[in-house]
């Protein structure tokens, strides 16, 4: 008799690894919205410049890169105005590394809340990639203003077509999911092996050099190195963005397809590990 009754919650020691309970996450969508709001308010509260920091950061980084990689190292920028070249790379890379690092810290920074109340833990990384997107959006808007300026003075050809309206958001979403997938994998592992936290903070800095942020893929001639760089899913995301918006650089469909598949695999894996760890991480952290 009793077994036929309908139970709303079933607590068991181990659940299926690939049971994502995404419908449950959807029920908590309002919580995600509140997390985003909290992140946004708490970061810029009591700062004088407020959200202006979103802009200062890429501007200064661009200027620095301009000085070092263009004027000192004389790296090619594929005949794109260097400001646009660097800024486009920085924009994407900043988003990726910020949301990756934040997601990777999910369990450690939220241990207090996680230890006291249940909600689908996946809401936190999702909120992270959304709140990081706010700053990315502002920076992207700023980038477009500069882009329009370069178009009007004739240094860049306007190449945006209808297809780019689809492809650019696709690239951004791909990048967001990739950063979350990688972040969740690391976050799940750091609950047990704390060493990883040290590894990723400098690992992500090194990874930037394996991504065409400060150089174009066109100057990479060695085919082995090229393959190695394309193994990084971020590579084709940034290259494709530059190709579409700035009309220079390389574009390869197989590479983009690879990024897509790799992102999907990493995301599924990440969420699975994340869900597995969320149940018992309070005992280990």
């Amino acid at each position: 008799m009793k077994d036929k009754e309908k139970w709303d919650i079933l607590i068991k020691p181990n659940s299926n690894l690939f049971e994502f309970r995404l419908n449950e996450v959807w029920k908590y969508k309002y919580l995600i919205a509140m997390f985003v709001k909290r992140d946004f308010i708490s970061v810029y509260k009591q700062t004088i410049l407020g959200p202006l920091w979103f802009l200062l950061q890429p501007v200064f980084t661009t200027l620095t890169y301009l000085l070092i990689f263009k004027n000192i190292a004389h790296l090619s920028t594929d005949n794109i105005p260097p400001v646009l070249f660097y800024m486009s790379g920085i924009l994407f890379w900043n988003y990726f590394s910020t949301s990756f690092l934040k997601t990777a810290d999910t369990f450690t920074t939220n241990a207090g809340v996680f230890g006291k109340v249940y909600f689908p833990r996946l809401t936190v990384p999702i909120a992270t990639i959304i709140s990081t997107f706010i700053s990315f959006g502002i920076q992207l808007f700023f980038f477009l203003i500069i882009y329009v300026y370069y178009v009007t003075i004739g240094e860049v050809h306007f190449t945006l077509g209808y297809s780019s309206i689809i492809i650019i958001p696709f690239l951004i979403v791909l990048m967001a999911i990739l950063s979350m997938g990688m972040g969740t994998i690391i976050s799940a592992m750091t609950t047990k092996y704390r060493d990883l936290r040290f590894l990723i903070t400098f690992g992500i800095q090194l990874l930037m050099y394996a991504t065409p942020v400060v150089y174009p893929m066109s100057i990479v001639t060695d085919s082995k190195i090229k393959l190695l760089l394309y193994l990084n899913p971020m590579t084709s995301i940034i290259e494709t963005f530059r190709y579409i918006v700035l009309g220079a650089g390389t574009y390869s469909l197989p590479a983009l397809l690879y990024s897509f598949v790799a992102t999907c695999i990493i995301a599924v894996l990440g969420i699975a590990i994340f869900n597995k760890v969320e149940k018992n991480f309070m005992d280990t952290i």
């Binding site: 009793k2 919650i9 607590i11 308010i41 708490s42 996680f114 006291k116 109340v117």
Partner: protein
């Protein structure tokens, strides 16, 4: 027929002592292989029951072992037990903060757990934002929170500061706001852990009242862990008693609470000659034993409605000595609350040895601290032996015993909060109409 809201079956939880997580990756791999092959955890078999009194022999400990119980819809179930009995672990599993090692729990309806008040409060957000934030964490959506917003603000009493960041709140305001959100959640099942230990007496009363409403009026199920026996007694019809990770008693709260009291009374409450540190020594008198005896024998824990007999055994070393034994009752800060000795004018009944010259030998003098005198707090006893009524040359054993008074709930039928003061005697009250 009432329906089952929570069904707990064979829940066990194993913790690893000492190091955090697995010691080595190879151990991790061993476990993983065993799991893949469908075998038991190779390191779990050496586990033992949770017993904090004796050192663990292995690295693994069962914090909970084979817990089974059911809660019907609309019931309020109390969970009591000593610190470390596994109560909080059980609540954590029930509220899905951590998973069980074995067993399963089936729950009907939405669960909200209050393992702490103010979970997820962010200091930079205003009170208003935090209400929404906290509500969302506890599983409400925007419409539900909005519908109860005014009620929450009113209950918390922080109305004027609702748009101020909560980091500017006093701790009292903070707690009030946090509880207000939780209390207005209206989940089907509310899990409460000791949160009432916060706030002032008035607010505690409000909290208990609100919980009572949620339970009685709205017919919602409540699980309540507390050390406040009075609250449990008032509030929960049935209770379970936990000890060392297992359920050792269940049934009507009154019976379970009594079982609890008799289980708390273990050793302690007795000091023998070798353990008594004397600060001064009368050459002709020495202590043999000081003990406190209640309904269940020697103890250091007593109910408020229990007579406590203080027994002083002493030896008269030199013959023909007068003996005036006395005790002082001290509060937990060492302030003297009362002093008493066996002179006829200050006792009920007459001690026939008072003022008499006693020959060599061992004697026992006892006095009774009456029930309904003390409050539910901690006290010390200092014992003295003097050979004259001016207490000039004493053998003194200051703070020789300590004991804890426990509220049985008898005096808390109406008022349920904390009781101020070092003593709590029953006092005669009456009112007459004057005009």
């Amino acid at each position: 027929m009432s329906r089952v809201a929570i069904q707990v079956e064979n829940i066990s939880k194993m913790y690893r002592l000492g190091s955090i997580g697995s010691k080595t990756i190879s151990e991790d791999l061993n476990r993983t292989f065993a799991r893949i092959l469908g075998k038991k955890d190779p390191y779990a078999q050496i586990g033992q029951l949770n017993d904090r009194l004796s050192a663990a022999h292995s690295d693994f400990v069962w914090s909970l072992k084979d817990i089974n119980f059911e809660v019907n819809q609309g019931d309020a179930l109390g969970i009591i037990g000593k610190n470390g009995a596994g109560k909080s672990t059980l609540l954590k599993i029930l509220s899905r903060v951590t998973g069980p090692t074995t067993g399963s729990i089936k729950i009907k309806g939405r669960v909200a757990s209050l393992l702490e008040v103010g979970t997820g409060f962010h200091p930079d957000l205003s009170g208003r934002d935090n209400i929404f934030m906290n509500g969302a964490i506890l599983g409400m959506n925007r419409a539900e929170i909005r519908a109860r917003f005014d009620e929450i603000v009113e209950f918390s009493g922080v109305g004027n500061y609702i748009d101020t960041p909560v980091k500017r709140y006093s701790s009292g305001m903070y707690v009030r706001l946090a509880f207000a959100v939780a209390a207005h959640l209206e989940p089907d099942i509310l899990i409460v852990d000791e949160v009432l230990a916060v706030g002032d007496a008035e607010f505690q009363k409000k909290c208990l009242g609100k919980m009572q409403d949620v339970n009685k009026k709205d017919g919602r199920t409540i699980l309540f862990v507390s050390h406040n026996m009075a609250a449990i007694n008032n509030f929960c019809r049935t209770s379970i008693l936990m000890e060392k990770g297992a359920i050792v008693g269940s049934g009507l709260t009154r019976d379970v609470v009594n079982t609890y009291f008799s289980s708390v009374k273990t050793n302690g409450g007795e000091a023998l000659e070798k353990d008594i540190l004397v600060s001064s020594q009368n050459d002709s008198l020495k202590f043999k034993r000081v003990a406190l005896v209640g309904n269940a024998g020697v103890s250091n824990t007593f109910g408020l409605d229990e007579d406590i007999v203080c027994e002083i055994e002493y030896e008269v070393i030199k013959s023909n000595t007068k003996v005036v034994p006395s005790i002082q009752l001290l509060d937990k800060y060492g302030e003297c609350i009362l002093a008493t000795f066996n002179a006829p004018s200050s006792t009920i009944g007459i001690d026939r040895y008072f003022g008499e010259i006693q020959p060599q030998g061992v004697y026992k003098t006892q006095c009774v601290l009456p029930k309904h005198l003390l409050n539910d707090t901690q006290y010390f006893i200092s014992a003295y032996l003097s050979s004259d009524i001016n207490f000039s040359d004493m053998t003194a054993a200051p703070e020789v015993l300590s004991f804890q008074m426990i509220d049985t709930g008898e005096m808390k039928q109406e008022y349920t909060g904390n009781w101020n003061g070092q003593i709590r005697p029953k006092i005669k009250w009456s009112t007459i109409q004057l005009s």
